[in-house]
């Protein structure tokens, strides 16, 4: 079986939200002689990237598929990392959390799972996170991106959310090195809302958000 076949079989299983089948593909690849590094870099990462493209182009993809894409990729990556001969190089760092007043955690969990499998270090600040906390954590950890999840209109547009994060970045002269990404239900209903809250980018779902954040990391690093 070629790697392309493995990727296809793995992604079909994920798309059908069938974790046992996805894990069986990984186990089969391992027993066929692929190393843990191969599994992550040649199977999981290309599979997640392929899934990102598929979900981005498929308006009918569903939340369960997004959840499973992240959950399975994060699980497999975590298991494989334990077996790596040396720690992998990370491509960047992101500080993530739910906006002030927002107690929803599913969105950032999906984003974080995908990012971890893509070798991005995720500093998860949890829920109901103040704007100052986002900025302080990004500075302290030398992160390239702050990602703010908001599932309700008032937490997406409120003065203590992304709008304040943007103001703090500007005030402290950090806009060049720290990018701001947002996501959550309100942005799906108004795709221009991200501009009004001062963000550099948004994504309609958690899986696509990981792709957007990787792009912002690369922009911030150049």
């Amino acid at each position: 079986m070629t790697l392309a076949n493995y990727i296809q079989a793995y992604n079909e299983a994920v798309f059908e939200t069938d974790r046992p089948a996805a894990l069986a593909v990984v186990n089969q690849a391992l027993s066929d002689g692929f190393s843990p590094e191969d599994i992550v870099f040649e199977l999981v990462i290309p599979a997640v990237e392929s899934m990102m493209d598929r979900i981005e182009k498929d308006p009918d993809s569903n939340l369960a598929q997004h959840f499973m894409t992240a959950q399975i990729a994060a699980d497999v990556t975590e298991k494989m990392l334990e077996k790596f001969s040396s720690p992998p190089q990370i491509i960047g760092k992101v500080v993530i959390g739910a906006a002030s007043g927002d107690l929803h955690s599913l969105g950032k969990r999906i984003v974080s799972g995908c990012l971890k499998s893509l070798m991005v270090e995720v500093i998860d600040l949890g829920i109901n996170v103040g704007a100052e906390q986002f900025v302080e954590a990004a500075v302290a950890n030398d992160a390239q991106v702050i990602a703010v999840s908001a599932m309700m209109v008032h937490t997406a547009t409120g003065e203590n959310g992304s709008i304040k994060v943007r103001a703090l970045l500007k005030e402290r002269g950090l806009e060049g090195r720290i990018k701001l990404a947002v996501g959550g239900a309100p942005y799906r209903f108004d795709p221009e809302l991200y501009r009004k809250v001062g963000a550099d980018a948004w994504a309609p779902d958690g899986v696509t958000a990981a792709k957007v954040i990787v792009r912002l990391i690369n922009e911030a690093k150049t």
């Binding site: 974790r19 369960a64 959950q71 007043g101 309700m152 209109v153 008032h154 937490t155 547009t157 209903f189």
Partner: protein, 342 residues
Amino acid sequence: MTPRQILHAALTGAAAPRIPVFCNLFDHGAKEMKLHPKAYFADGACVAEAQLRMQKRYGYDNVWCLHYVGKEAELLGCKEILFADDGVPNVADFVIKSWDDIASFEVPNDITQHPAWQSIADCLAVLRGEVGASHPICAYVTASTTLPAILMGMDKWMELFLLGPADLRDELLRKCADYVQQHIAALRAAGANVLVYSSPFGSPYFVNKKVIADIVMPWMRRDLALGGTDDLVYYCGMAPFNDVIEPVIEQLGIRSHYISPLADLAQAKRLINTRGLTCGVIDDIKMIHWSAGEVRAEVRRIVDIGKPGGHFLFGNGVMPMAVPEANIRAMLDAAFEFGQLP
């Protein structure tokens, strides 16, 4: 004709002077009564008073007894709600903190005896007395397959639903379905006559159609096994659900459908046709930044799609507090103007 008669005419296809126009103003009530949301929502008579005042001022057809979605979590043991001055209250204390808690989680034998029910009962008593004969009184019911999201958090529920042991998932769903049956009966007995049945897991935006058919649909049937479905409106938390309209009509018997602004309204109207009521819903998040003219144009677009052939209602989502009042007025003025029937 009274608003209730207009709604009934739209559902059945009888003659009426205009389409029904619903407006959902939940969190605006606290501002109306000049109270902090926590104090406002604790007083059912006050919630009713705000609903009646706003209905009278704007002239739309319905009133609501919904306090906030987390009220259902309170009826099931939630001890803390995070209130906000500018938006929707959040559940801040999950009743089920780990899968181990599911075994000991119990639904009260009679939710109407729970202290959290009192404000609902008070609200409905006022609404029933004031406008029960003339206006639709709306109430909100969370489906059993979605209720766990407010009991344990959406990510933990998604994990159990998709990856956990089926017997544990079903044990929780059995308890939730028992609660839903009780909740529906209690709301009806207290005077609610339009029940918005909120079932996001019944939308292909959440899970695929096979999962809906195999898992969600049987639990929805159980939720709705008692008392009929004539007063129910199918709603998926603003998520699109055109692909399941057919089984929802055929298998659940729900005839009224609150269509997501993200869905193809024309397709939904074709699917439902004269079998029930298509509710065209404006994207009220965009209304925050739209001009009054843009609101008017969008209302006209929606009504132009839905009105031909009747069986149509115009409505909105949750109307964020940030929407300017001029836009609420523009929405309603346009709905009444373009919603006139020959």
